[in-house]
Amino acid sequence: MKSILRNFLFVLNRFKTSSVLNIIGLSAAFLAFIVILIQVNYDFRYDRQFKHGDEIYYLTINSINGRFLTMPTTMGQEIADKFPEVKSHCLIQNSNSSNLFVDVLDNKGLKRKLSITITLVTAGFLDVFTPEIVEGTTQGIFARQGIGLITEKEAKKLFGNTSPIGKTVYYHSSKRFYNNQTTNSVTIQAVCKDFPDNCSISNGIFILLPNDSQANYSYYGYFVVGKKDVDKLSVGLNSEKLFGKEEWQEMQKSDRKLKVELTPLHEVHFEFERGRLITTLSLLLIGVLTLFIAYINFMNFAIAIAPTRVKSFNIQRIIGASTFKLKWTIASEAVFFSAIAFFISLCCISLLKRSVLSNYFPAKMSLLGNWELLLLIGISSLVFALFFGWYPTRYIASFQPAMALNGSFSLSRKSVKLRNSLIFIQFLAATTLIIVALSIQRQTDFMQRQPWGIEKDNIVYLYLGDSNINMHTFGEELKRDPRILDYTAADALPGHIGTIWTRTFDGKSVQASIWTVQTNFLDFFGIQVTDGRNFAPQDSARSKHAIIFNENFLYKNRLAKEIIGKPFEGYDENLTIVGISKNVNYSSLKDSIQPMGFATLDDRFMNWLFIKLSKDDVPGGINLIQKTWKNYSDDDCDIKFLDETLEKLYKNETNLAKLISAFGLVTILIAVMGVYGLVIFNTKSREKEIAIRKVNGASIAEIMLLLNSNILILLLLSYVAAIPISYYIVTKWLQQFAYKAPITWLIVALTGLLIFIVTVATVSLNSYKASSRNPVKSLKAE
């Protein structure tokens, strides 16, 4: 062991350049690899950590026109009653804003306002998600309202170190479902362990979700079913048994074709968060690639310095050292390098985790929390290290000791070939990564530049869903100030229109996303009405509610503008179709524009208040809103800019582009470092040759060409090979978008230029030194 360590210290000292480059390269690669693997682990273990993890299924109803993610409370109970395969079930409220402010009384009786998630669940919650109780009892906890279960950390936030059992918090229920705000109380009866970050359940307080109307399709349904019973249950759910004969037949009509589907809970994360799986898999691939490239570098360096080591290896062999032991000593260098790099990367992660990394990765970059994963990476890196360390070792040991002692010698042809192919692979990977990253970046820019068809500048919005504020009083007061131009309200933000109505209209089943809006909404956002009329103030009156469809609604349902004036079925009333509007993007630009309608319904649906500010004094306008808000509510005034929110719709893509670019640069950096190191060794071993050539009349340029040509040929070959590969990847990736930025040659050319310049600069820097050296010095040195 002592001799192994000694040998490593000698290598560090004797081959300083390659050692430093090796350590930097491997550290950067490990940093990327570990961060990515923590994220991948987070994603792949999403929703898998429940006790019944594999047996929990999420129920959705699919139709030709889309997928219903929610169901009414009665349906959950009905399924459980009719099908013995269901072991337990739970419904959870689907709420846009589950973050509520609660009042907590501290020990002096003072009221404090804190934000917490309150989730409404049915009694089956305990059986389905099996919270681990640490204090109190769950006896009868979801049998009646007013008592609840809280997770550990949130309990600490609300009550500090005192026991939360028996404590009461007060919250204001949304005016959305009650016409007047009411104050409710919850008394904590039990505390459970926190749920992990990577699961569908948010930490906070859980209270009873009472039976609701059969028409309220607002709840997520989860069912625990034995694995072997799933198929049987699936057949049963898609039959008359659940829906009754008449409704079932109605559901199977050609324009609906409803089908009940059970999705394993742990698949929901990837299936419903679009792009997540692609992102995760691309990251995984990049991580592996980066590490691979760093190890290739390691191997390249080891092969490059091999000739200088053959001699000492063989002297030791002649004197009597065992070949096996010598081999181990050299192979172990890779292990040391890996270990050092691994350690450095861990230090970097703990330094960066709060600042940089948390912006890009939802997973917590906790080293302790991921120790099992880190251990696994550590062990496999040892295996990698031995694998990549073995070839140079075998190479060094492959010479007959007697031959090895006869002066200097260069690399065998086979090794040069191997080394060249390794450099080729490095450049190929780096070039591909950069082209892909630039293309993703371009697509993101393209989407952000696409017109939404609505105005979005200088518009801010507020959530009113939980407050008691009358939006008209509030809005009119604001409008008295010249800094506020106008206000309007809607049930959802652009990009988050979730309500889909399926109705029978004109004898056929039609479907449209419905955006519930104030009558001035279209004017406010500059949306054109092409036929019929815009909303008028009287359309807001109950029983006079109106609807305006977009052009795609006509087109997709093969209807004509003659539908104007006809009634259209709403929730519990008929709306009048008053006009047709231009198509506007109401969802992400990943999707093409679908049939959609603006509807004027009761004010109680209007969760969001939009305010248009004068562009002359935006900060002043914001100030005014905040000041005015204080007169209406104790809660914080959470103002957001619409354009920023819309950009966030592409956060996934923007992040992915940034990450791939970053890793692409790391890869290039490692590859270029590798080339740099190789050129140093190359020039060194050819010093004499260079000198002789110069003595015989070669110019500096000719010498440089001689030294660089090999690398440049490899660069060119890898570049040519990278073009079709990256073209394929980008085309595949773009398939998920409705609006695609075309692939451009500019990116390909730019990437080529970038890599060419960086490489040539690196190589020339070194070879210039060698070729401009006085030849007499090199000849003398021998």
Binding site: K311, Q316, Q400, L405
Partner: protein
């Protein structure tokens, strides 16, 4: 001590076949000092490598102390070499990352000699080679003559019965060259068998007998009358 019979060594590459040694037979008695001479490429070093068990002959027999060693495997050769054969090279072949002391120590560590005994033996040997004062230096800090003395120290430290020297004075000036030859002669007087390859007639004169090689064959053998 050494007996070789019809020893042949052929090097083959894809295109050419080179006969380096062509049916050589010779003997070296215990305690003898033999010089091998001949022009470049005549097979001197090949012969020495085979004698030193660094290489196997293509055919023929090699008996070392009456044991056939011509067809040993790599591992067995290492085993036989250990402690029995010492090497001195023209280019010294010291390990540059080790000090003089450590270079000399190397064979003893492979023979698993105890640390206390090693220290004593190394000190004695270095003293004898007059380089004790350089024990903690690295090879590149020494002159050629000093380096060769270290190499000889390393060759004799394990008390081998046989020392093989490949042009030991080739890289040295005449004064240092003579010192090295004196050292070898002294070792030989103490009973060590020595086989030395050389270009120098002056060096060859130190030996008891000179074997002249030409194109892989022994052409003349001369006894030196001292």
């Amino acid at each position: 001590m050494i007996k070789i019979e019809s020893l042949k060594k052929v090097f083959r590459t894809e295109e050419v076949e080179t006969v380096a040694l062509n049916s050589i037979s010779m003997q070296v008695a215990k305690g003898e000092f033999v010089a091998i001479m001949g022009p470049s490429g005549c097979g001197k070093s090949t012969l020495l490598n085979i004698l030193g068990l660094l290489d196997n002959p293509s055919s023929g027999h090699y008996f070392l102390d009456n044991t056939e060693v011509g067809d040993l495997k790599e591992k067995e050769r290492t085993q036989t070499r250990k402690g029995n054969i010492g090497f001195v090279f023209q280019s010294f072949n010291l390990i540059e990352e080790m000090t003089v002391y450590e270079n000399v120590e190397l064979p003893l560590t492979y023979l698993k000699v105890k640390a206390s005994e090693r220290k004593q033996r190394i000190e004695e040997t270095l003293k004898r080679m007059s380089i004790s004062h350089r024990a903690n230096h690295f090879p590149n800090q020494l002159s050629g003559g000093q380096q060769q003395r270290v190499a000889i120290a390393r060759a004799v430290i394990a008390n081998p019965k046989l020392i093989l020297a490949d042009e030991p004075t080739g890289n040295l000036d005449s004064k240092n060259g003579k010192d090295v030859m004196d050292l070898l002669t002294e070792l030989n007087r103490e009973g060590t068998t020595i086989v030395m390859v050389t270009h120098s007639q002056r060096d060859a004169d130190f030996a008891h007998r000179t074997i002249n090689l030409f194109d892989g064959q022994i052409v003349i053998e001369t006894e030196n009358l001292l």
